[in-house]
């Protein structure tokens, strides 16, 4: 038990920092690439997922690009 506690604290800190980083990225419209890649591999094994860079540009365009208004901020 005493052995386990620091480890669980560390894993909790890791979870927290991943949460903060994911949150910060999603605030500017960048979703989770690992989750995307895992999803494509699982549901479309025949397709190659976009690379991390392609994913980044895809999300940038989805937020502000032509025809999209989702990046519009509130008053």
């Amino acid at each position: 038990m005493a052995m386990l506690q620091p480890q669980s604290l560390r894993s909790r800190l890791q979870t927290l920092s991943k949460c903060v980083c994911d949150g910060a990225r999603l605030m500017v419209g960048q979703g989770d690439y690992a989750a995307y890649a895992a999803h494509i591999r699982q549901t479309h094994p025949d397709q190659a997922p976009m690379t991390e860079l392609e994913f980044f540009r895809n999300r940038e365009n989805a937020r502000f690009g032509v025809g999209n208004t989702s990046g519009f901020r509130c008053c």
């Binding site: 949150g23 605030m27 500017v28 989750a35 509130c74």
Partner: protein, 690 residues
């Protein structure tokens, strides 16, 4: 029996204690008359109200009105594509949603409302968010989530009909134009005659471009790295701005008048919205988003540590409508002035935008929709505190129009003292020197006042008086940065709306990849908000006087439209016994906005009524007289035209809300008479779309 009572005590006891603490704090805030109170009481009262409202009212809405079902598939699960539809951790999504709804509105409205004292504004922020604002955000999120994450316009078209849908689309465009004009006006008011502010805000453009190139070619996708780089450069720009302002050569080179800045912003809006997004918009979005969240957290910590006292009285004599900052009596104009922070129609666009496509579990909607808006309301409370901790004499010096104050510290001090808030020319000069500005007289628009308040609070915690000028310009930069991002992104959004609207007549206009329609539509969008911006900049009463109420009316009207949609959906679900949840805020918003709109149109007082103001100038023009600030007959004609355009706009907003309310009532009656459920939710049994 005793175990049942024990459970009751366990379940509700802690919340009862929170309620008692909140009631005590509110009593202290409301009953203090002769001495100043600590701002922490305001903060404690607000937090207790939020906690109780979240625990009980949002749970009631979730369980009884919506019947959220944790087992039901959300759009994110059903359409999961790893891109637009992704089941997302609720804390992560909360951050995303909050960053999207928080903007300049909750910061500026409460600052302007402080002319009536802190109590009226505080009570409306709290009552408004609990019963109207958070309900709207939560309900729209729910309605969109049950319909594959569709947008507000599509939802209105589906549930109310095609005609209300088109009316709402057109109304949203008008509202957006007013919003962009008023946001740009805030920036102009903050930067006019301020070389330090102008230099730092202008330097964000090359900094953002450098970041853009870095994130595209040098280290692609490294948002964290590039944001730190940008942040460091921004801080250097603020420090450098002080030297620039002091320099005899560069100081005057960065000093611009309001109209000059107005034209620069119009040009900027046009160019920025057709540049590639990676070059300017996306990198500045990183900076503005992270700076915004960081500053909000910093301000909260600052208030908690410094525990400043409120210098503004709880209620001033200006509740009767004679205040210098904005015209009109407490009802309806206080409820128009504090738009965001209590209830904001724009949130309906966000709650039916990306957020509903990312919710992993239906029950998360309560935390994200209702909770997110409570957080936004807390930002408004902090803005109110910031405006009320500064000396009321300084507050009225900064926010009253030049027509009342004159332009020297002596005339301003005399005028403000005459208003009943004693101040001296020395205080005015010293405050300007403290924040590194030439003058603080008539710096209307909310941003400079908020910046002085924030500088006051943060410098008490870090840096003392020596750092006050730095914190002031930091606060100005923080506001200008996300306003410029909104202007840029909003101009793009307007341009696509123009292309959609024109395409109803000329289908080829919708082609967003060809240059012709893009440039024409951008020019229309920029021209529309630019017109109102120019009108505001050259307005003798400071512009905010005219434009902020129009913006408030339009924003609250959009909220009324969104809440009407929610009411219709409740009726269609045959849960009309709970429809009071949305009917009460809808009715209140309609009452406020229609009264305010009517007074803006027909009030005989030229300070309030657009038509009365136009008549006054028209009568004078007919007699060959020139009324200040017009200097010749052309300017007289311009003022009359502006008034009449504003009047048409107010009339359009009234027509819009009456039409949607009419369609809404008809749809409710039809649903009420129907013998079954008629709402158009996506079938929960549908298999995934792929």
């Amino acid at each position: 029996m005793s175990t049942a009572i024990g459970r009751q005590v366990r379940d509700h006891g802690p919340w009862a204690l929170v309620g008692a603490l909140g009631a005590a704090a509110l009593a202290i805030v409301a009953s203090q008359r002769d001495e100043t109170i600590n701002a922490l009481w305001v903060v404690v009262a607000a937090i207790c109200v939020y906690v109780i409202a979240y625990r009980y009212y949002s749970k009631f809405i979730a369980d009884k009105v919506m019947r959220l079902d944790p087992k039901r598939q959300t759009p994110a699960v059903r359409h999961n594509d790893g891109l637009d539809y992704v089941p997302t951790n609720r804390s992560v999504l909360f951050g995303h949603h909050f960053a999207a709804i928080a903007g300049a509105g909750p910061l500026v409205g409460p600052v302007l409302a402080a002319q009536m004292g802190y109590l009226p504004g505080m009570l409306w922020i709290l009552a408004g968010v609990v019963l109207a604002g958070a309900v709207q955000d939560f309900m729209v999120l729910f309605v969109s989530m049950r319909r594959d994450g569709r947008s507000l316009g599509e939802l209105i078209r589906a549930e109310l009909g095609t005609v209300p849908g088109i009316i709402a689309l057109f109304g949203t465009f008008l509202i957006m134009v007013i919003l962009l004009a008023v946001l740009a006006l805030i920036v102009v008011k903050a930067l006019a005659e301020s070389p330090w502010g102008t230099f730092t805000v202008m330097s964000t453009i090359p900094i953002a471009m450098l970041m853009g190139v870095y994130a595209r070619y040098i280290r692609p996708g490294r948002i964290g790295e590039v944001s730190v780089l940008g942040f460091v450069l921004l801080m250097l720009a603020i420090i450098g701005g002080g030297s620039v302002a002091a320099s005899p050569v560069w100081g005057p080179a960065f000093t611009f008048t309001g109209p000059q800045l107005c034209w620069m912003l119009i040009g900027y809006g046009f160019v920025a919205s057709i540049l590639p997004v990676w070059l300017l918009l996306a990198p500045r979005d990183y900076l503005s988003t992270f700076l915004k969240i960081g500053t909000i957290v910093g301000l909260a910590l600052g208030i908690a540590v410094v525990a400043p006292h409120m210098q503004m009285p709880a209620v001033t004599k200006f509740v009767d409508g004679t205040g210098p900052v904005w015209a009109g009596s407490l009802f309806p104009f206080l409820f128009i002035t504090i738009a965001c922070g209590a209830v904001s129609g724009f949130h309906a666009l966000i709650s039916s935008g990306t957020t509903p496509k990312l919710i992993a579990n239906e029950t998360d909607a309560r935390f994200i929709g209702y909770g997110g808006m409570l957080m936004e309301s807390f930002v408004a409370i902090m803005a109110l505190v910031s405006a009320c901790v500064i000396d009321p004499g300084v507050y009225f010096t900064m926010n009253s129009p030049a027509a009342l104050l004159g332009t020297t510290p002596e005339t301003a001090a005399a005028a403000v003292t005459k208003l009943g808030f004693s101040t001296t020319p020395e205080v005015i000069t010293q405050t300007a020197a403290d924040v590194g500005e030439r003058t603080i007289i008539s710096r209307a628009g909310g941003a400079p006042t908020l910046a002085v308040g924030m500088a006051h609070i943060i410098s008490s915690a870090i840096g003392g008086k020596a750092m006050m000028a730095f914190w002031y310009h930091f606060a100005i930069l923080f506001e200008a940065l996300f306003i410029l991002t909104a202007v840029d992104a909003g101009t793009r959004a307007c341009r696509f709306m123009v292309q959609d609207l024109v395409a109803l007549a000329v289908p080829s206009f919708k082609n967003t990849t060809s240059w012709g329609p893009s440039i024409v539509a951008t020019a229309i969008a920029v021209g529309a908000w630019g017109y109102f911006l120019y009108q505001g900049v050259t307005d003798p009463l400071g512009g905010i006087n005219t434009l902020w109420p129009l913006f408030g009316i339009s924003n609250q009207m959009l909220a009324a439209v969104a809440l009407t949609l929610c009411t219709v959906v409740i009726f269609k679900m045959k849960r009309e016994r709970y429809a009071f949840v949305t009917i009460i805020p809808t009715a209140w918003l309609c009452l406020c906005t229609l009264t305010a709109g009517w007074q803006k149109l027909f009030s005989a007082d030229p300070k309030i009524g657009f038509l009365a103001h136009a008549d006054r100038y028209a009568t004078a023009a007919a007699e060959g007289k020139i009324l200040a600030p017009a200097k010749n007959a052309d300017q007289m004609a311009q003022i009359i035209l502006n008034d009449r355009i504003d009047a048409v706009l107010a009339a359009l907003f009234i027509g819009l809300v009456v039409a949607i309310a009419g369609f809404g009532i008809a749809a409710c009656l039809k649903a009420w008479r129907a013998d079954r459920w008629t709402a158009l939710e996506t079938d929960p049994r549908l298999a995934p779309a792929e």
